[in-house]
Each structure stands twice: as C-alpha cells, then as structure tokens.
Point group: C2
Chain length 338, copies 2
Amino acid sequence: MAKSSRRSRVRKQYRLGIDLGGTNVMALVVNEKDEIIGEAKKKTKAELGPQGVVDRIVATAESALSAAEVDVKAVIAAGVGAPGPVNLDTGVVVEAPNLPGWQEIPLAAMLSDKLGMPVFADNDVNLGTLGVHQMGVGRGTQHMVGIFVGTGVGGGLIINGQLHRGSRYSAGEIGHTVIVPNGPICGCGKRGCLEAVASRTAIEREVSAALAAGHPSVLTELLGPEGKNRLTSGVIRSALEAGDALMTSVMSQVQYYLGLLTANLVNVLDPEMVVFGGGVVEALGDDFLEPVRTTARIYYLQQRDADRVQIVPAKLGDYAGGLGGAALARQMTSRRRR
Amino acid sequence: MAKSSRRSRVRKQYRLGIDLGGTNVMALVVNEKDEIIGEAKKKTKAELGPQGVVDRIVATAESALSAAEVDVKAVIAAGVGAPGPVNLDTGVVVEAPNLPGWQEIPLAAMLSDKLGMPVFADNDVNLGTLGVHQMGVGRGTQHMVGIFVGTGVGGGLIINGQLHRGSRYSAGEIGHTVIVPNGPICGCGKRGCLEAVASRTAIEREVSAALAAGHPSVLTELLGPEGKNRLTSGVIRSALEAGDALMTSVMSQVQYYLGLLTANLVNVLDPEMVVFGGGVVEALGDDFLEPVRTTARIYYLQQRDADRVQIVPAKLGDYAGGLGGAALARQMTSRRRR
C-alpha cells in the first residue's frame, strides 16, 4: 500500500486545460478528481500572429503549472479550445475570425512541440459544453445543449453522451441561426441571426440607440460621459438591480429570443438539458433564465414531459472552456490507451 | 449449391414496411436486396379509433403480402411509422395528433399479435429519413437531415449514421422551429413556426387570401368555382408551369424560408447532406430546390467547404416511410441476433 502510494506521487496524474480567446488565454491545471489546482490568465495579444500567440499560450500554461506546483513531466496531456472550427483529428484550427492570420494553423502540434506532451485541440465553445457535461451540471445527460451568451452567442451539442462536431467541424453555431428574417445586421454580415438580437453586442446596440434618442436611464450615469465605460455584464446587472426601465425592456427582448432559440433547439434535438453559460448569464444568474424558461415552454411542440427538459445555468464562471480542455485531454488519452 | 439454393427459398427473407398516415396506410414488402416486391394502400379511416385502425393496417399488410405472393411465414419482421412521437423501445405511440384516441397506444405489440411476427414502431418522419439514409440518396452519410414538405413540414436527423430520436422521442420537429416571431398562426397553435410559412397549408392560405383580394391568377380556373378543388402539389406544379405570377411569388417565399431553415440546420448540425422529400418537393423536383440552395448558402456561417453540403431531392415518392419501416425491421432484428 505504502509503496503504491509513493509511486502514485511520481506518475503522470494532471491535465492542462487551455481556453484561447480573442482577448485572454486561460490555463488550468486539473487533478485526477477534476479539481482545479492551479490557474493562470494572460492577454492573448492576437496582433502577435499565430506563432506569437502560441508562445503566449505556452507561457500561460507554464504559469498555471507553477501556480499548481506541478512539474510538466507529471502532466498527461493538454486540451486547448480555439475560437473557430478546429479539426479534432489533426489539431488544425481551420479559421479563427477574431485572431488575425489564423487559417489552417496546426495549433495542437505547435503546442505539443513546445510543451512536450500530447495536445488536443477543439472549438472553444465545444470545450465549454464538454466542461459542463463532464464536470458541471450536465454530468450524466445523454443529450445536452450548451448556450453561451457573451459578446456573441455560441453553442455546443452533446448527442449520445458525445460532443457532436459535424462534418466540417462547425456544428453548434446556434448564434447564427436566423430568428428574425431581415432583422438587425449581425457581426457575421448576415441579417437576423440570433446573435444579432440576443448577445451583449445586441444589448449595446439597443441601449445606445435608446440613449441617443433621449430615453431616461441610469445607464447614462453608469456608462459615463459619451458612454466611455463599456456595457459589461456587471453594468447590465447594476442597471437591472436599480430597476432601470430601459435595461429591463432591452433584456426582456433578449430573454424572449433566447426562449425561442431554446424551444427551437428542444424541438429539433429533444435534449434532456439546456445549459446557459457565458458572461451575461454568469453575471445575472438563475433569475435571468426564468423568462427564458417561460417563453421556451410555450413554444415546445411536445408539451408532454415538458418538465423533463431542464434549463439551467452553467455556474462554471470563466472555467467552462478550460475544464472542457482538461476533459478532452482525458477522453483522448484514455481512448489511446484502449 | 443446389441444396443451399432450395433452402433459401423457404427461409425468412422478407420484411414489411408500413407507413401509417392520417389519411392513408401504405404497406411494402421488401426483399433482401431492398427491392419492393409488393405494395398495398388503404384509407386509414382514423375515425374507427386505434383498434379499428390497427385492423386496417393488418389488412393492408396482408394485401401487400398477397401482391408480392409472399407467405407471412417468410417475413422476418415489420417496421411501422406513426404520425407522432413513438417510444422505440416499447413500441408505444405516445400521441398522434391527427389520429383520434391515439394516446399511449402499444402499436407494435398490437400489430405483432395479429401479424405473428416481431414489429417495431417509430415516428413516420424518422422512418422516412431512415428510408432515405438506408435505401436512398443518403446512403453512406454520417450526418444527414431529412426535410419533408407536405401539408406540414416534418424532419428527421441522422447523426453518426443513426437516427437521433431525442430524450422524449420528439427530435426532428423542424417544422415547429420559430422562424418569423409573431408570424402567421400555425396548426400547432403557436405563431411563426416554419410550417406556418413553408407548407402546403401556408401556400393555400396565401393563395386564398390573394385570390379573395382579386389578384388575377390561373389558380382561379384550376381551383374551380369557390375553390372547390384542393390546392394539391399537382395544381401547384400546373400553375408554376403556366408561369402564374401569384403562384411563383408564393412559392418564392416558401423557398426562401426553406432556405433559411436549411441554413439554420446546417449551422447547428453541420450535416453532409440535407434531403428534401414530401408531396410538394416530390411533385416539383430538383427545380424547386435551386432557390432553396441559393438562400441556404448565403446564410451558412462557415462558407469554407460550403459546396460539400449537398441539398438534394429524396426521389422516393410515397415510399420513403415504408422503406424506412423495412430498414428499421432489419436494424432491429440484426441487433437482436448479435
């Protein structure tokens, strides 16, 4: 027993989970019990280009290992999420619209070279969804949808207990389903996408227009002269807590559209659970979801067993993606061992 | 060799595929090569209630066997599709909105009793999709969506080569995804479902309104005094072939919305192929799909490899559901043997 215990101290038992975003890189060190034992966060500095960003990712991973007091030799593997479609089999990022120069970048291989361990890459929202499914509220579900509401709206699908990535690694782009034909223009260039009416970007657009038209609101004060402060999730929460009519009205629209989206996904995929994460939802919590649930339920085609479809907050904060990376590292290495 | 050949004549080698609709029941006898060697069609007479309808299904199956000159003892199993959610494991029809009295009806067990063979039941549109995937244009695809446009709009999903039925057996209800918030009222009671703007029901509503408002159209003649003839797919085709402006305009809207639906499903599921079947599409053929393709492609988020997503007609006529039933019978019996 004692001998086995001593041995376990030197064997590889940790995993790295890395979330590469347009603004920040986050790295987590996770132990065998899926506990986060170290973390680090750095600016992405996307302007440095792919090689420069890869160096930043490596530095972030090293900081996280240092924080966890874990030697790199004790790490089994790393999983990394990138903001765009990723070929899981080759570890190549097909494209990443928010990262200049990222087309066909062999992210997994580049990181593996520098970190000296197996590295697996996937889409960041897929990994957020995997994090929720493997280490969060979605544990044990067979069919689950992850919806992440922040600057944009991303999604991930768990089908038969596995991430569904699709034939071109681009499944789960629920933010770009058209929900208002010929509606507001979206960041993707098309009109009426869900993201164009139910993201922080949409909230900012509606609030700016209303303030410019002279609607009274505490937001005038919260955003400062000429709106110099950003409309962060924290500002949204403050305005809602102050009972601001404009903010409440704008958010009601967002909740309505997210309710329709949820019903659409339930009608198409019939999951057991729809999990909401991302900055906006994490800041506002379960209260935000109640109107979403009400609208969704009205639009379910199958009303029978409607209560069995759970609509819940992820409650993983910023960690969903990194935890998903650690989960991917486990899945891929245990598959290899088989 | 000769002996083996004689034996093969007596062993079970046929399957029955049955499509139960609100109006008609169709039964197909299929051989080992998936060829249809006999078929029969009868009115459903839904007003007879579940037991009466089951008797009609049995009579239709017996007619098909008789037409095929196949003894019931040579049939391995039957697969039957019903218009509503069906529990595949128990063979119970959860509900069938168009069939009075159908709640929790053990269809597979009732048919098995009378036919003296294993019977498996599933949703009719799921089986139409399975027919396309196993015996039609979708053969060999991993991820495929079936869209059936008729009186309503139904859908089925193939994920990882298997039908995705969902957690409440109600996956694939793409006709009831909201595409025009607060749009026209749908047969399901909600507003703005895809089915409310892109089904034969929607076409009839738009045409009736335009004719009532005095728009000139060959439809006035084709539908007869006071619109006594139904706006069948055949009538739609005739009006389009005559270059009728009203029919062309109404169909353009339908094609636009089906294009948005296709893009939404491609953005969510990233399939290799989207297959269109159902009365309207079968009558109008590939020409009908060209504008659908054009719109869909505009709304794909991932434009890379967009050509790899095929949008094609099913071309199985009325047989998709019955063939799917025969395919289900094969899948379920080969699973049992394992």
